[in-house]
């Protein structure tokens, strides 16, 4: 396997992304988006698409840049650094992976940024694909979908939806699921936006006899888990990378504050207890960064084995982000609690990221299973 350090190309990609995002999507943009009630800036997304980010996982012959999962992780990490909001993970990572090998026009639509996908998988408060109860009843040559999906990221702004539905078996069973790729405006599908703490687009999708044809099926009928697994792994790795970038952003803000803030006539960064806590946080971030790099590497090089690597990354990123934002707010004292200051945005996004596509316990349990206990 290749090294876990960044290659020269990857370093260039990272630096370019950082330069672009610092200029075009600083944390202030998230605040502006929130205050103006939009989940992301379409203009920014167009520029990202033009730079090849939307097509990072789409092959070049389908119009993408085909840079792979490590590169996707680097981009997600940089977006986390400034909390840049975009449909990147839903469309460019999850949908692009799910539709790999599917119709080229979909993939090129993802790559050029015109198709915005959302993955509708969960139905309760916790990530649980196998728990899918949403029914896809056979009807003539097609299906009718009925049920409710919750916590659909980018579900309000998406123009297409990947939805996991049950065509056989009972909730809890991995078999009998089917993945559909449908237009978000299809009759019977209503979308209800949810105001979440991270000020991003999350929606509840209600399906009432939504018609789907055999052409809408991704992968095999009753084989939806196989169709969605690679996409989930890719998405989980990207969310982990975003969270790790978020850690770096919140941590840099915190150490910056420790170096300048005075209390009792002393720079607070000289207080040894804060120094040790900062050093501990940095250690956690470093260890997590390795897991993120490894997840990208495994997804690119031995994708069949990626579940363990991805779950280590998501578990670590979730836990590390919680530590870093909690310490970040505490070390900032009162101003960290004010809406005027950015630290709160990091805390809120970390909480949503902790739940998206599986929380700490979900992934830690997957690691345990993979490791034989």
């Amino acid at each position: 396997m290749t090294t876990l350090m960044l290659t020269e190309d990857e370093t260039m990609l990272r630096d370019a992304a950082r330069g672009f995002l610092d200029e075009n999507a600083p944390v202030k943009n998230l605040r502006d988006n929130r205050d103006s009630g939009r989940a992301f800036d379409p203009g920014l997304w167009r520029e990202m698409a033009q730079m090849g980010w939307a097509g990072v996982l789409v092959a070049e012959d389908a119009g993408g840049s085909g840079m792979g999962h490590r590169a996707a992780g680097i981009l997600a990490e940089e977006m986390g650094l400034t909390l840049a909001a975009s449909p990147f993970i839903s469309s460019a990572v999850i949908a692009a992976t799910a539709l790999r090998g599917a119709a080229t026009n979909r993939l090129s639509g993802i790559a050029d940024g015109s198709l915005l996908y959302a993955l509708a998988v969960d139905e309760g408060s916790k990530h649980n694909p196998q728990g899918t109860a949403l029914q896809a009843e056979k009807s003539g040559n097609g299906f009718r979908l009925t049920g409710t999906k919750t916590f659909v990221a980018d579900g309000g702004s998406a123009n297409r939806v990947l939805v996991l539905a049950r065509t056989a078996g009972a909730p809890g069973e991995a078999d009998g699921l089917t993945l559909f790729d449908i237009d978000a405006t299809r009759a019977g599908l209503t979308r209800q936006g949810k105001a979440t703490v991270d000020s991003r687009d999350h929606a509840q999708l209600d399906f009432a006899n939504v018609e789907a044809t055999g052409d809408d099926v991704v992968g095999e009928v009753d084989g939806g888990m196989a169709a969605v697994t690679a996409a989930l792994n890719a998405g989980q790795a990207a969310v982990s990378a975003e969270l790790t970038g978020l850690c770096a952003g919140a941590f840099a803000m915190t150490t910056g504050y420790l170096k300048e803030r005075k209390q009792f006539d002393t720079i607070i960064g000289t207080f040894q207890s804060l120094q040790h806590r900062a050093a501990h946080m940095w250690s956690e971030i470093e260890v997590t960064a390795s897991a993120i790099a490894n997840a990208g590497r495994v997804l690119d090089e031995t994708p069949a084995e990626s579940e363990l690597a991805v779950s280590i990354a998501k578990a670590r990123a979730t836990k590390t982000a919680k530590l870093v934002v909690s310490e970040g707010v505490q070390m900032h004292g009162g101003i960290g609690m004010t809406d005027e200051f950015d630290m709160g945005f990091f805390m809120k996004r970390a909480r949503v990221g902790a739940e998206w596509l599986g929380d700490y316990g979900f992934h830690a349990a997957r690691v345990a299973r993979a490791r034989g206990f």
Binding site: T196, M343, M347, W356, G361
Partner: protein, 401 residues
């Protein structure tokens, strides 16, 4: 003013009868999480006639400040009687008639440091809910360094001329008066030139600006003093300063200890907020299946419950200690442990409720803003770091530099 019997059994009967007679049924039948606290004050709008009637009845009987002397609007209850009163209130599901910074903070300060005239004038206004007070300690940029008071009061003969600003003044935009630390001697050492001053918020030059928090709410304000004239005296033997001039730090320290114990109490249980009086187990049983099967969540919840129950016992023990001999600097432990525990509680509630918990208006009501609000618990009233400093240096007597 109702007078209650000294005999324990008679007292219980009397107080129980008082509650049953005077607390309107509508208040007692209301679920705990839908009750609105009555804060009082000149601009208070009662949420119902029942709320007004209950306050009026309690104030008349001295029961908004049960342990204060009758002369100052209290009911002069003994510790044991107060305990019985609380028990009977809980049994009758009667809400507290009045809460305020006047009852919690200024009252105890006046009782300890005020002149007879100050007490007679200000305390009954508090117990009747007529005047709502706020606290002006912190200043912008000073953070934990409360003694770094820059707001100055210049001696202008018959009045003080106050200039400066305060931050983290709770609900200052709703308050009628403020008790504030101001610097009355700029030459004296840091802790020696501060006075504890009572200022009418309607004075010319006082203004407030709410601070929006990450929770979306604005429980705090910035409060500005721009050439505010504060009379040196509000009447005979009634200085606008509590305690001695330039010795306001003593008053503030006294109150800080008091405040810490109070804030620490938030760590023990499910008194308010999303749990709304429910036990954690009760809350958990309302969740969808499967969540509690996760060993990570289950073990975290178990640990939280063990620690919360033990913290409740600790508050009980410390209250008893405070009654006999006092707890001194050890109160910093209650503040530290209680607030950190409350943060853990809310982190866990967020984790348990998953994608529902992160909604501002989700099925768990105000959980998300409450969660964010808890992050201030370990900052306000002295940060956890300051508490640990106090414990290590004052309680454990570990050496200074």
């Amino acid at each position: 003013m109702a007078a209650f019997s000294d005999k324990p059994e008679v007292f219980r009967t009397e107080i129980s009868a008082f509650i049953n007679t005077n607390c309107p049924a509508v208040l007692r039948e209301m679920p705990a999480d839908q009750r609105e606290i009555c804060w009082g004050g000149k601009r208070w709008t009662f949420t119902s006639d029942a709320q007004r009637d209950w306050l009026t009845a309690c104030a008349a009987a001295g029961l908004t400040a049960p342990r204060w002397p009758e002369a100052y609007g209290g009911a002069a209850l003994s510790r044991e009687q107060e305990k019985v009163f609380r028990e009977e209130m809980a049994r009758a599901k009667a809400p507290s008639p009045l809460e305020s910074f006047g009852l919690w903070m200024l009252g105890p300060a006046l009782l300890a440091f005020g002149t007879e005239a100050q007490k007679t004038h200000f305390l009954p206004q508090i117990t009747r809910g007529e005047i709502r007070w706020c606290q002006g300690y912190s200043e912008p940029g000073a953070g934990s360094d409360l003694a770094g008071v820059q707001t100055r009061a210049e001696d202008k003969g018959d009045h003080w001329l106050v200039n400066g600003s305060k931050i983290w003044t709770s609900y200052a935009n709703h308050a009628d008066w403020i008790f504030a630390l101001v610097r009355t001697d700029r030459e004296a050492p840091k802790h020696k030139g501060i006075s504890f001053m009572l200022i009418d918020m309607e004075s010319e030059g006082v203004s407030t600006k709410p601070i929006k928090l990450i929770s979306g709410n604005s429980p705090f304000c910035e409060t500005f003093f721009d050439n505010v004239k504060v009379p040196k005296s509000y009447g005979d033997d009634m200085s606008s300063i509590v305690g001695e001039q330039n010795r306001g730090w003593d008053v503030a320290k006294h109150l800080l200890t008091h405040e810490r114990t109070m804030i620490g109490g938030g760590g023990s249980g499910a008194a308010s907020g999303v749990l709304g009086g429910r036990s954690l187990g009760n809350f958990l049983s309302s969740l969808e299946d499967g969540v509690m099967a996760d060993p990570v969540i289950r073990s975290d919840v178990m640990e939280l419950e063990v620690d919360s129950l033990a913290m409740g016992m600790t508050l009980e023990r410390y209250k008893d200690m405070a009654k006999t001999g006092g707890v001194g600097h050890a109160s910093a432990m209650l503040k530290y442990y209680g607030t950190e525990l409350n943060k853990r509680r809310y982190e866990l509630l967020m984790s348990i409720t998953g994608s529902e918990g992160v909604e501002w208006d989700g099925p768990h009501g105000t959980l998300a803003p409450e969660w964010l609000r808890t992050k201030a618990n370990s900052i306000e009233g002295g940060t956890s770091e300051v508490m640990l400093d106090i414990i290590s240096k004052r309680v454990l007597e570990l050496p200074y530099k």
